[in-house]
């Protein structure tokens, strides 16, 4: 789950990373009484989880005389369709140079990947492609407590040494918070020292509970409902509802729909042990999306009981037609149950997908 900038900034600050002074406001009225804390120039930053916030007018430089008016304006704005409900007010930083620092998961080395460049404030992915030598990298096993000094020297080159301790604190944040990504872009040099002018932290969804996070904000309401049942669900924008077991098989089902020029409305992986109850909930959930015109159920398993699945499909009692591919135990019973109630059971996933695409055309 992505934390908001002010949440990440607070955590960075608690771990000893220098961050600008500031506070969060939920309405323009909250700014006035505390404006004095910010000095004669400050920045209002919209807390929205969309990229390109600065370019879309979500970051405004203000002073005590125009601050109230700019805050009013900012709260009325939308950034790429997202309304602004929270604004971070922070002191203005007199930026002399911008750096970039991040720590992420590296799938290939199975270690933390530390990136640093003295060309900050840019899109790191673009910089890495256009000028790979400008981005310094190091891999660190998570068994390490700190980034070793030689590694810091390699990363920093001629950049100020105090950034080394910031990188170390960032690594500690990364570990303490079960982060998939901890990023400072930009990290800035000012006459008063180095500061994290921005903060980004993505927490591993599998570690949310031990991080004390009870609600995953990244999920839509239907995705959250699906999670309660133990399903993986992703909303898409087609008209063919999809239910599969296993992420790979469900993805392959979506791909096959695209291959036959259809459009999937969703991805739903019911997970292991697809019994009557789970299948019923899955069918109901998918059918509740008004754009779904037909549903494909593709379940393959050694221990999946086809008769149970068939009963689950029927007991959902939805209006859309359902095309089923089932392989497992008690296949014949499953087929019988479905045939008797007007649903179609196909021999292969390919046939099932073809039939579904034909049904919506």
């Amino acid at each position: 789950m992505k934390l908001r900038e002010h949440e990440a900034m607070k955590i960075f600050g608690e771990h000893g990373i220098p961050v600008p002074k500031g506070f969060l406001i939920h309405s323009p009225a909250e700014l006035g009484p505390r404006m004095g804390e910010l000095g004669d120039r400050f920045v209002l930053k919209a807390q929205v989880e969309v990229g390109g916030r600065g370019k879309s007018g979500g970051i405004l430089v203000a002073n005590p005389s125009n601050g109230a008016r700019l805050a009013e304006e900012l709260f009325k704005k939308e950034i790429k369709g997202v309304p602004i409900r929270e604004v971070l007010a922070v002191e203005y930083l007199d930026i002399q140079k911008e750096y970039y620092a991040s720590i992420a998961i590296d799938r290939s080395t199975k270690q933390a990947l530390i990136l640093f460049t003295d060309q900050g404030g840019v899109d790191i992915e673009i910089l890495a492609k256009e000028n790979p030598d400008a981005v310094r990298k190091a891999s660190l096993p998570l068994l390490m407590r700190d980034i070793p000094p030689f590694m810091l020297r390699d990363l920093l080159g001629s950049s100020p040494k105090e950034i080394g301790s910031i990188l170390n604190q960032l690594f500690r944040v990364f570990c303490a918070k079960d982060a998939l990504l901890a990023e400072i872009n930009p990290l800035v040099a000012t006459p008063h020292g180095i500061f994290a002018a921005d903060a980004k932290l993505i927490i591993d969804d599998n570690a949310l509970s031990r991080q004390g996070i009870t609600l995953n904000r990244d999920l839509t309401e239907r995705e959250r409902e699906a999670e309660k049942h133990g399903f993986s669900y992703v909303e898409l924008n087609g008209d063919i509802g999809v239910i599969g077991n296993g992420a790979g098989l469900t993805m392959a089902t979506l791909d096959l729909i695209e291959y036959y020029d259809g459009k999937a409305a969703n991805f739903l992986d019911v997970g292991g042990g697809a019994d009557q109850e789970r299948v019923m909930h899955a069918v109901k959930l998918v059918a509740a999306d008004p754009s779904v015109k037909v549903i494909v159920v593709n379940l393959l398993g050694g221990i999946t009981r086809c008769d149970e699945v068939a009963r689950g499909i029927i007991s959902a009692g939805v209006v859309q037609p359902i095309i089923v591919r089932l392989a497992g135990t008690n296949e014949a019973e499953g087929r019988q149950i479905l045939d008797g109630s007007g649903y179609r059971m196909m021999e292969s996933m390919e046939q099932a997908v073809k039939a579904a695409v034909e049904a919506v055309q």
Partner: protein, 288 residues
């Protein structure tokens, strides 16, 4: 076969849970059928003295190893305990851990894999169905009835998609040497590259199917490093960016790891890539 054979003794950690008990029975049913050793002991802390599916349970892997010969463990413990169980197995001297468990915090996985490597222990998974060498050994939860013994190696990030492809290979008369589910998490122990290296040493394996999906670049890294004939299928061509497609690792991030660019890179290396699962047997025949 790779990673294990009929003579490999297996310890199941998380033996007394519903999943553990169920799959001990299935693994040993298969072991009896092929004349293998199978699961010799179970481990659940605090449950020593119990018996699960005819197998004695111990408090620790060390205790189990005092009474039984084993070189591998299969994990069915919950996510938060799995990193610990991997390290326990490595520390006790086992050479292979198959981590079936899903939802392990990725930092736990990274620490456990680093620790296991220090002890010379290989980790398959987590979030995987395990492995099956038809006629030799099953370590994990793969259904055995779809497989048949032969010369095709299968490496997959998925579970049920693997069964789908194995079924199609079997129907096409293409038996399998070993089927390895390497797992759907972003960080996994044995990667395509590691398993391909094992297949290179394995006389039984003549060609390999790589079943990949969106996220990361492990498929390309593996294919690049091998001289075995390889064919691939990559799931997720219709997956939207920045969305996790069921597996924690199946996500296109920062413009990296999408199916089209993966497929393009594989094809550049001369690896045939199926556009539908049903094409895999034909592609394998062409490279054999």
């Amino acid at each position: 076969m790779i990673y294990g054979d009929r003579s490999t003794g297996v310890i199941v950690t998380g033996a007394t849970g519903k999943q553990g008990a169920f799959h001990i029975a299935l693994m040993n049913e298969y072991a009896r059928k092929v004349g293998g050793v199978g699961v010799v002991a179970g481990v659940t802390p605090g449950k020593a003295g119990q018996e699960v599916a005819g197998v004695p349970v111990y408090n620790s892997i060390r205790d189990a190893l005092k009474k039984h010969d084993a070189s591998a463990s299969v994990l069915f413990v919950p996510g938060f305990a799995a990193g610990d169980s991997i390290m326990e197995a490595a520390s006790a001297g086992l050479s292979l851990v198959v981590a079936i468990t899903e939802h392990i915090p990725v930092h736990d996985t990274m620490r456990a894999i680093s620790y296991a490597r220090i002890h010379g222990c290989d980790v398959i998974g987590p979030n995987c169905p395990g492995l099956l060498s038809p006629g030799e050994i099953k370590m994990g939860i793969m259904p055995v009835h779809l497989s048949s013994r032969g010369h095709i190696g299968v490496i997959s990030r998925s579970g049920t998609l693997t069964y789908e492809i194995v079924d199609q290979l079997t129907r096409a008369g293409l038996g399998q040497s070993t089927i390895v589910g390497i797992g759907g998490d972003p960080v996994i122990g044995q990667t395509f590259r590691d398993v391909l290296r094992r297949f290179e040493e394995d006389d039984q394996t003549k060609a390999v199917v790589i079943l990949g999906e969106v996220g990361g670049s492990l498929e390309e890294e593996g294919a690049r490093a091998t001289d075995l004939p390889v064919a691939a299928y990559i799931a997720g061509i219709s997956a939207p960016p920045e969305k996790r497609m069921g597996h924690a690792g199946a996500i296109i991030e920062g413009g990296e790891g999408d199916a089209r660019s993966k497929i393009a890179r594989l094809k550049e290396m001369g690896v045939p890539v199926a556009s539908r699962p049903s094409e895999v047997p034909r592609l394998i025949r062409e490279i054999l």
